[in-house]
């Protein structure tokens, strides 16, 4: 798997992401600078990592969405390439028009860092094939603006098309307001684009990939991508 991690000024989880990709695929991802206009040849996964691109000044993800490299990413996604955006990466993908909706401030207006449970809604996508449908995984969140919102029509389409892949839930998989940590519409933690090749999610699977660190629930996402790409090749 040849992956490319985008590096915008202010991004800060690119090293965490690189470690997770390296562990899953055995190959080192390329780091792509925001001012670049092309992705490395043969890239088969673009990752937009977490952080505070451009300080999240103006609006989270808004400036990064307009960086030179994003034109290349839009083209890559338009050609069906796989794009994964985590946390700030999700915000950037929404701002860049690759995903619908917007991430607003958490309902309780505070930054939240703790483990959450996510229900994997389906397993027949490149981003979830490492899991079973209905499986509950535990991964950390660390964000101040993760409250997903979209207009009613968009939300209906997302649900109708099965494009919600991850939802906040209890340890036993129950979805309710009590476990909706940031007030997101329909407890949405991660969605895919219409073609299903672009995933944005708030939680950090890349921080739960090593048994030695206590939890490997995030590994399935990366392992699934590796498997998908190996089959496609």
């Amino acid at each position: 798997m040849k992956s490319a991690i985008l590096v915008f000024p202010g991004i800060n989880r690119e090293r965490d992401m690189a470690r997770a990709l390296q562990l899953a695929s055995g190959s080192e991802p390329a780091m792509v600078w925001h001012a670049d206009t092309e992705l490395p040849k043969g890239t088969d996964l673009v990752v937009v990592p977490g952080g505070f691109s451009y300080g999240d000044y103006l609006r989270c993800g808004a400036i990064a969405a307009r960086a030179p490299v994003m034109d290349a990413v839009r083209k890559f996604a338009g050609d069906g390439g796989l794009v994964l955006g985590v946390c700030n990466g999700f915000q950037i993908l929404c701002e860049s028009g690759l995903l619908p909706g917007v991430l607003m401030r958490n309902a309780r207006l505070k930054f939240i860092c703790h483990d959450v449970h996510l229900r994997v809604e389906r397993s027949d996508t490149p981003f979830t094939r490492g899991y079973n449908a209905g499986q509950v995984i535990r991964v950390p969140v660390a964000h101040g603006e993760g409250n997903y919102e979209a207009d009613e029509e968009t939300l209906q389409r997302l649900e109708g098309d099965g494009r919600v892949l991850y939802r906040y839930c209890s340890a036993s998989g129950e979805v309710s307001d009590a476990h909706n940590i940031n007030g997101a519409a329909a407890s949405i933690a991660g969605i895919v684009s219409e073609r299903g090749n672009v995933l944005g999610m708030m939680p950090h699977p890349e921080n739960h990939v090593e048994a030695i660190m206590g939890c490997t629930d995030g590994r399935g996402l990366f392992a699934g991508l590796v498997e998908h790409l190996a089959k496609a090749a």
Partner: protein, 736 residues
Amino acid sequence: MSSKPTPITPELVASHGLKPDEYQRILTLIGREPSITELGIFSAMWNEHCSYKSSRIHLKGLPTKAPWVLVGPGENAGVIDIGDNQAIVFKMESHNHPSFIEPYQGATTGVGGILRDVFTMGARPIACLNALSFGAPEHPKTRRLVSGVVAGVGGYGNSFGVPTVGGQVRFHTRYDGNILVNAMAVGLADADKIFLAAASGVGMPIVYLGSKTGRDGMGGATMASAEFDNDSDEKRPTVQVGDPFAEKLLLEACLEIMAADCVIAIQDMGAAGLTCSAVEMGAKGDLGVDLDLDAVPTREPGMTAYEMMLSESQERMLMVLKPEKEKQAEAIFKKWGLDFAIVGTTTPTLRFVVKHGGEVKADLPIKELGDEAPLYDRPHVESPKLPVIHARDIKPPIGVVEALEKLIGSPELCSRRWVWEQYDHVIGGNTVQRPGGDAAVVRIEDGPKGLALTVDVTPRYCEADPYEGGKQAVAEAYRNITAVGGKPLAITDNLNFGNPERPEIMGQLVGCLKGIAEACIALDSPIVSGNVSLYNETNGRGILPTPSIGGVGLLDDFTKSATLAFKAEGEAILLIGETRGWLGQSVYLRDICGREEGAPPPVNLEAEKRNGTVVRGMIHSGTATAVHDLSDGGLLVALAEMAIAGRIGASLDAGPEAIVPHAWWFGEDQARYIVTVPQDELLGVLTKLKAVGVPCLQIGTTAGHTLSIAGERAVDIKALEHAHESWFPNYMGGKA
């Protein structure tokens, strides 16, 4: 020297925080009246914050050396060697005064400043900690200050991208008018690539890097060296504004030009900004410095030399570059979008010369600016010894179980989850033990080494007996590191006290330092960096003496670290260390009996070392399944914390006859731990500990879902957890 010289009046001198005799010293030193810019430079260099003029002679007693210490106090941060060419760079610093005036920005710039201190030395920050002291919960300002400071600490660290893994939060009415915000940063560097402040070579370019200079933070260090009064809010313009994004860029750019071998010397612009950094680089390298302020990137036009020299705008650095690498360094900084300007050169003159608009605005002897700063041996009186309180003289107002239920959900002992969940504590993917345990454990790169990190002090002990309190702060850091399996290596201290011009305050400082020094020597933990914050007073009322101790320990194998959570039912619970039932200055005595009195528990450093060594051995051999240090709240509170964390209860024996129950369960005797071991290890452990003379007693067995003491009502773990977790969110939500 200036076209329209500002007259230097006694009022102007006083407004710069300089006393008449200090001004006289300036006149003698330079042989003429200073210009206004020069007066500003002297006030910046000679204030308490930068010159340590009241504390310096007493700091000399601290142990600062050990074979593993690479850089001790005096640089931006301390550095220790952990083997394999890896070095740990760390320091703690206060941002108390600004945080009281403007909590969010005060806290952010406190975190930003300490991170800069660490990466200036060539280290990538890998963890942050903090120690926060607030006024009484019922004080009208407290809630707003807690909310602002916590958001600020998080706001900066989260965006910069460093995990905030531990710390302390306390409430006490003595901080009502002076909160404390102490921030600690820890970084990882190559041991053979540590960067220092001393310039070398004549005619070398001095380069300004980072954000532009504005009028913010003007005179901040001078403010931090004065007491507060009712008009403190008017000092808001002296608080700087933090920009974590700029700092993240500065970090990456600095590490990149260091890796490219471009740097001779580097100094961050912290307190007293350009003045302090330029003087230190020159003075430490035995060189003069010529600064040309026309080249300094400014945020607004029309700034005077005086303003530029005293600005405390954040996210700025000064460097001496290798001349042949100038272009390469500039390209790296431009890539990161940061300002880069050559603002001066090193000279052989030993003069500090500042030019602006074609005029010399200051021309001062560079060494003397630091070396000739006033040094005071201020009068100090020892704090009066308080009587030892005998537990039998204290009548328990409520039963043991009721007291536990109250204490576990009290402001002093409740869970700090509300605070640390606002800090990103998992970024980096190396946080082995998250906040909430005795010490945080952070993996170093891909392991197997790990660091144990903690911040400790018990201010009420320091107030009651500065010497014992100073010892206790170091001993508790030692215990917390030990309890996770770390070997304590070194310490950074942040000494927060009141007005040193009062002999009783000075006595507290002297007493605490004596205790700290003694403990550091006995426990092999030298002090490698630190900071002194004095004048923490409002309207003549000082804070509790608060010498925060930041401890760093090493685990050779992070997978062999212990946590405090009970692991399984049926394991033996051992109390290690001697219990006499010391209630003086205990949380129980204060919060249950309403009495803040008595001598604090004495600290036996030999016992600390002996017991700590044994506990560490039990962790490394895999015998200990859970470990917890005993501190605030004593034995029963510690057991409840272990039960809550592991969601496993315990069946506990009644205490020994010789000790009254409330003293047994809530006394705060030092040098103690609780350790659990599987039943089949019990006999071996007891025999072994007896042989080495470490007191050890089985006090119960892990079992069920309640804490039940023989002869007392059993209490459900879930109920304790609820009480433990509720106070903070309820309070911040206005419900407590």
